[in-house]
């Protein structure tokens, strides 16, 4: 029989039992929709994490002292006085894939000014730090290269510090006191929000590293050096270059060079596991939907025994009957899958609208969902269809 005729026969028989077909397809619809919503939410979470990490600067390379394992190691690493300003100058002068490099001197102390005092993190950095972190100011300007050279007492404050010390006013030009030194505020950084590790990125005061080492620490070694490559693709080459340079000058591997994508990969893989878990739970409803199809097809075969007998008497082969019932269950599966696709899509959008979660459903995912529901139709339709095809025409004709 022509495939066109087969599909016509199948849709006819579905149309004759609209309510039953709709209820049968409901299982598939809910299953496909549930899987899509879960995968959509998971995909959204992944892309949000990716964005957060990108906000740190994907081209950023972090150099810390001590050959440590990956992960949070800053406390231990600071104990090793391996990195120095000389290393920064060497990287700036010789590494060709590195576009910007900045030392980071970290200190935690109280800042006095405006409304009162505020305990925060003080970072002594170079002017290039702004470029490396890709961090614009919301008012005023970042300090420049000459401020660093001259060791001027200027500072750029994060938005959290600005809100707490100067609520409701523009702090640019105002003065703050750190330890015994007075600093002029050159600018306020635009809010960056939470960092990937959950800290408030905006609770910070930045000042030239030269000033910081004079007024705060007096130490000559650096807890961290930040650098950035021209593009994400250049990051591995830049990392390798930095390693080679530092190995030359240190004569040992007493440092660690990491990039942001390592962090991104780790965070993404954990959400991927979560998404898979959710999708696996949701696909159980798809399985239940498949069993629903099988159930209805078995009922349908029994109910239409006489019809099968008639068809066989007038010359239908077993394979004709098998194909007819199989096409019927596949059409139900695909139809249910398509409706489920629409419902899942709308559901994901709705969920995103009410919760503010971003949801991402890829075209590939849609294709898989519909393909899978067709496969469910074949798998669960085969047994009833075979049962129909194996009927004896004489007995089928006599069936009441």
């Amino acid at each position: 029989m022509k495939s066109r005729v087969l599909i016509k026969l199948a849709t006819q028989s579905i149309q004759k039992n609209k309510l039953r077909a709709a209820l049968t397809m409901l299982g598939i619809i809910i299953g496909v929709a549930a899987v899509l919503v879960m995968v959509g939410v998971g995909g959204g979470a992944r892309s949000r994490i990716r964005q957060q990490i990108n906000s740190l600067g994907t081209n950023m390379i972090v150099i810390t002292p001590g050959a440590t394992q990956q992960g949070g190691v800053s406390q231990g690493a600071q104990a090793f006085p391996n990195l120095s300003l000389a290393d920064v100058e060497k990287i700036r002068a010789e590494a060709q894939n590195v576009t910007a490099v900045s030392p980071v001197i970290v200190s935690r102390t109280s800042v006095i000014g405006g409304a009162g005092n505020w305990r925060t993190t003080i970072n002594g950095v170079a002017a290039e730090y702004q470029h490396i972190r890709d961090w614009p100011t919301s008012s005023g300007d970042f300090f420049g290269e000459e401020d660093v050279q001259a060791g001027r007492r200027v500072a750029v404050i994060g938005s959290t510090v600005a809100q707490n010390l100067f609520p409701g006013e523009d702090p640019v030009g105002a003065e703050i006191q750190i330890r015994s030194a007075v600093f002029t505020i050159a600018g306020v950084l635009a809010p960056k929000g939470q960092s990937a590790s959950g800290n408030d990125s905006d609770d910070v005061v930045l000042m030239p590293h030269t000033t910081a080492s004079q007024t705060l620490s007096g130490r000559s070694f650096l807890p961290q050096i930040l650098a950035s490559a021209a593009s994400e693709a250049d990051v591995p080459a830049a990392q390798e270059e930095i390693r080679t340079l530092l190995r030359e000058s240190h004569g040992a591997d007493d440092f660690t060079v990491r990039n942001q994508s390592d962090l991104a990969t780790a965070a993404e893989s954990s959400t991927r596991v979560m998404t898979l878990l959710l999708a696996a739970i949701a696909s159980i409803s798809l399985l239940v939907g498949g069993i629903g199809i099988m159930n209805i097809m078995l009922v349908s075969v029994t109910e239409r025994t006489r019809e099968i007998g008639i068809r066989m008497a007038i010359g239908a082969r077993g394979s004709d009957v098998l194909t007819q019932f199989l096409v019927e269950s596949v059409v139900m599966g695909v139809l249910g899958g398509l409706i489920g696709l629409a419902v899942g899509f709308a559901g994901a959008k709705l969920l995103g609208h009410f919760t503010g979660w971003e949801t991402v459903i890829s075209p590939l995912m849609m294709l898989i969902a519909v393909g899978f529901s067709a496969a469910v139709g074949v798998f669960f339709g085969y047994y009833p269809a075979r049962k129909a095809a194996a009927l004896n025409p004489i007995q089928a004709l006599r069936y009441e």
Partner: protein, 247 residues
């Protein structure tokens, strides 16, 4: 060439330890253009004979050839093709597909034809067959919208449409009143006049009287096989139907 030729046809059903001998050796030959009535009471074996002649079942022993094709050794698929190509069935319960138009019902056997139905205009052929049984104006009606006599005529159109060697009718008037039965038999007589071979299985002598030859089956054997002497014309009976009822 005979349309039907059987030699010592035997069918035995095994049920547990006992065997039921439904047919005990039937020799039957039907030539082209014949109109045969097979009669017998229930349990006589006439249903078994009809299943074998209709290629719905295979004999335990003996030979059967329809239109020159022997059924010996044929598998399920080959029997299905044989039914499709050689036989047109008409049943007591009409056996039309419910919620399916008359035209779709009549078209159905051509859709299962593996010889080249693709090239033919099956819709036009189905419409022509319905026209032939006088239902040209009922093509879009579903069985539930048709009377019993009309449904049986749709079934006859479905049997005719493949141009079969044999029309096999199993109690075709069993569910119909006398007047409608006579109408259906008139249609069979008309088709037989046009050269179509018809075999009717019935237990009603009134119906058998419209055939040209009566074969009586009893206890799995043919007891009587003779031509009908005072053959009735269904068309004539219809014309004088009311006089008959009064008489």
């Amino acid at each position: 060439m005979s349309v039907i030729r059987t030699e010592q046809l035997v069918k035995t059903y095994e049920s547990g330890t006992t065997s039921v001998h439904a047919l005990r050796g039937v020799d039957l030959t039907v030539a082209k253009g014949e109109f045969v009535a097979i009669m017998g009471t229930s349990g006589s074996g006439k249903s078994t004979l009809m299943n074998l002649l209709g290629c719905l079942d295979t004999p335990t022993s003996g030979a059967y050839a329809i239109d020159g094709v022997s059924v010996e050794g044929l598998d399920r698929n080959q029997l299905a093709d044989l039914r499709n190509q050689k036989i047109g069935f008409v049943f007591q319960g009409f056996n039309l597909l419910p919620r399916t138009t008359a035209l779709d019902n009549v078209e159905l056997p051509m859709l299962y034809d593996r010889r080249g139905a693709r090239k033919r205009d099956t819709r036009a052929l189905a419409a022509a067959a319905l026209d032939r049984v006088g239902l040209g104006d009922r093509v879009d009606h579903q069985p539930s919208e048709l009377s019993g006599g009309q449904q049986q005529r749709v079934a006859i159109a479905r049997a005719l449409v493949t141009d079969p060697a044999l029309i096999l009718a199993d109690e075709p008037t069993g569910n119909l009143d006398t007047h409608t039965s006579t109408e259906v038999m008139a249609l069979f007589q008309e088709l037989n006049e046009q050269g179509i071979t018809i075999l009717v299985v019935t237990h009603e002598p009134d119906v058998a009287a419209y055939a040209k030859r009566i074969v009586e089956v009893r206890d799995g054997r043919i007891r009587r096989d003779q031509p009908v002497r005072n053959r009735r014309s269904a068309a004539y009976d219809l014309e004088h139907f009311e006089e008959r009822e009064v008489a």
